[in-house]
Amino acid sequence: MSAALARLLRDPVSALGLGIVLFAVVVAFFAPYLAPYPEDAYESHLLQRLRPPSAEFPFGTDNLGRDILSRVILGTRNALVVAVSVVVAAMAIGIPVGLVAGWRDNWVSDVLMRLTDVFLAVPQLILALALGQLMRPGIETAMVALALTYWPFFARTVFAETRRLRGALFVDALAGIGARPTRILLLHVLPNALPAVLVRATIGMGFTILTAAILGFLGVGAAPPSPDWGLAVAEARQHLPEAWWFPTFPGLAILLLVLGFNLLGDGLRDAADPRLRRSRR
């Protein structure tokens, strides 16, 4: 694993991705201490509306006079929490489905994989909008919708690896010495799928942040006054083109974090797969 990390860091592009993601994690963790005006998450100061960037407010202020830099910093935590929760929830559904479907060779497998196909066919945004209408629009609804549409990717990845290894001799040997299927699957088959799952998860983080921002923009994600990046871009629409700083900085934050996750995901794919270790330099 340390060898894989070293290889990851040797590639400047992947190292940049890792750097961006780590930076975002640190910012999210210490957000209330880093933000110049932490109370601006919920308070408004109508006397200083839409001030351009200055020494006092490096990113300017928004339509309610709140410091945009503070809100971008505070929004990092939201973005990461949403991304991690959605991906973890998707993995919690997708990995067991993939393992069971790959291991069994009967109607159970067929039912699970067809179900996966059905969910794969549902467009993310449409489902999120529909759920938002059915339930209360909000960040929780958006997260449910994102998790429900992202788990099939994990199920398919794990399914393929389980199918490939099910007939492998080491699996037969384990069964021969009396290992239970759960033990074989979790301890011996799943680690083979882990590099692919890890890459999927990393790219999924970036994807989720982007989609969550889109949902915020459409009004079915985070609700005001939450310092959500997508929401900030949506609120800024009425004040364009004069208040150019209002959507630009939250937008750049989205761009940067999504880019970071994607670069890291690509780097991980190259570095962490044990079957590629020898062929890649």
């Binding site: 001799l169 680690p191 079957r275 020898r278």
Partner: protein
């Protein structure tokens, strides 16, 4: 090879039948197969693809698929029935060299750790003993840099090296019997020779019995004391290798050997194909393809006839000459 009477067998497969439940019905993979491996001898099992070689081996190793049924038969190893009695299982006393070395080891764990785990389970001694012994075994199978090999992952070895690694694994718990499933088919010809020579040397040095499954008569002639020819899950013929290869008696063996490029003037092959395991013909399973088949061949499975010289043949008409075109 010597002519002294065979000592009591180390492994005896007795009238073993193995059936598999499939979507197309019950597949009778093995039917009434008997086979013995005396101590210190090398026995070959030969036959076409799909004749039940692999299932026979898996039954011996106790890794039959979950859909398998064993309606009849026994497998005795060192006198105990290892098929019926789990407690009497031969674990650690039977080594296995697989056909495809690629997915025989889990790619995410170090090869050395995987073998050491088996040794912890089956071999006496401490971890340090096991490690020292494994390094010595790696040396015996001529793996380059044995100490470094312990720390490598399976994909870091070449095909031939991986096969050597698995031979070392098969020997790691001091087995009395090593079962080898076409251990050379996945390798190129020069590596094949080296691996065969290695197996022969190790078997001789350690007094091992070998059960060697192959479809290569050259390998058979070079390595095995006696041979059992399987056809469609039944024993067609068995006996000392030299005798069987020099003077095959069962029509199937005769035709099979006539197909060998060294012996055949042109590559004709045996007409027809091996029957599907779910739709075996009645009577002798070879009769639809047999040039000397008679009406009674379709009635009942032919009994295994004993012949002088330790041979047995499942064909009552084995004395008949084959028609000319079949042996052209």
């Amino acid at each position: 090879m010597n002519d002294s009477p065979m000592p009591s067998p180390l492994l005896a497969v007795e009238a073993l039948s193995v059936h598999l439940r499939t979507d197309a019905g019950l597949a009778r993979i093995l039917d009434d197969v008997s086979l013995t491996v005396p101590p210190g001898r090398t026995v070959g099992v030969v036959g076409e693809s799909g004749c039940g070689k692999t299932t026979l081996m898996r039954a011996i190793l106790g890794i039959l698929p979950r859909s398998a049924l064993v309606p009849r038969g026994a497998i005795r190893f060192e006198g105990r029935d290892i098929l019926a009695d789990c407690a009497a299982s031969a674990r650690g006393r039977i080594g296995f060299v697989p056909q495809d070395p690629y997915l025989s080891l889990n790619p995410v764990f170090r090869a050395g750790d995987q073998i050491l785990e088996i040794m912890r389970r089956h071999a006496p001694g401490t971890r340090r003993d096991h490690r020292a012994k494994l390094i010595e075994l790696f040396r015996a199978v001529q793996l380059p840099d044995p100490e470094a090999a312990l720390e490598k992952y399976p994909h870091q070895f070449s095909g031939g090296q991986r096969q050597r690694l698995l031979i070392a694994a098969a020997l790691s718990c001091d087995p009395a019997l090593v079962v080898a499933d076409e251990p050379t088919t996945a390798l190129d010809v020069t590596t094949q020779r080296e691996i065969l020579a290695l197996l022969r040397r190790l078997a001789a040095e350690r007094g091992l019995s070998l059960l060697f499954v192959t479809h290569d008569f050259g390998v058979l002639a070079a390595l095995c004391d006696s041979v059992t020819v399987l056809y469609a899950g039944r024993v067609a013929e068995s006996g000392p290798t030299r005798a069987v290869l020099d003077a095959p008696r069962h029509p199937y063996t005769r035709l099979l050997l006539a197909c060998h490029p060294d012996r055949a003037s042109d590559l004709t092959g045996i007409p027809g194909t091996v029957p599907a395991a779910t739709a075996q013909p009645a009577g002798c399973r070879f009769h639809p393809r047999c040039p000397i088949a008679r009406a009674d061949c379709a009635n009942a499975p032919p009994p295994l006839l004993s012949l002088p010289g330790g041979r047995s043949i499942a064909c009552p008409h084995h004395a008949d000459a084959l028609p000319e075109p079949a042996l052209a």
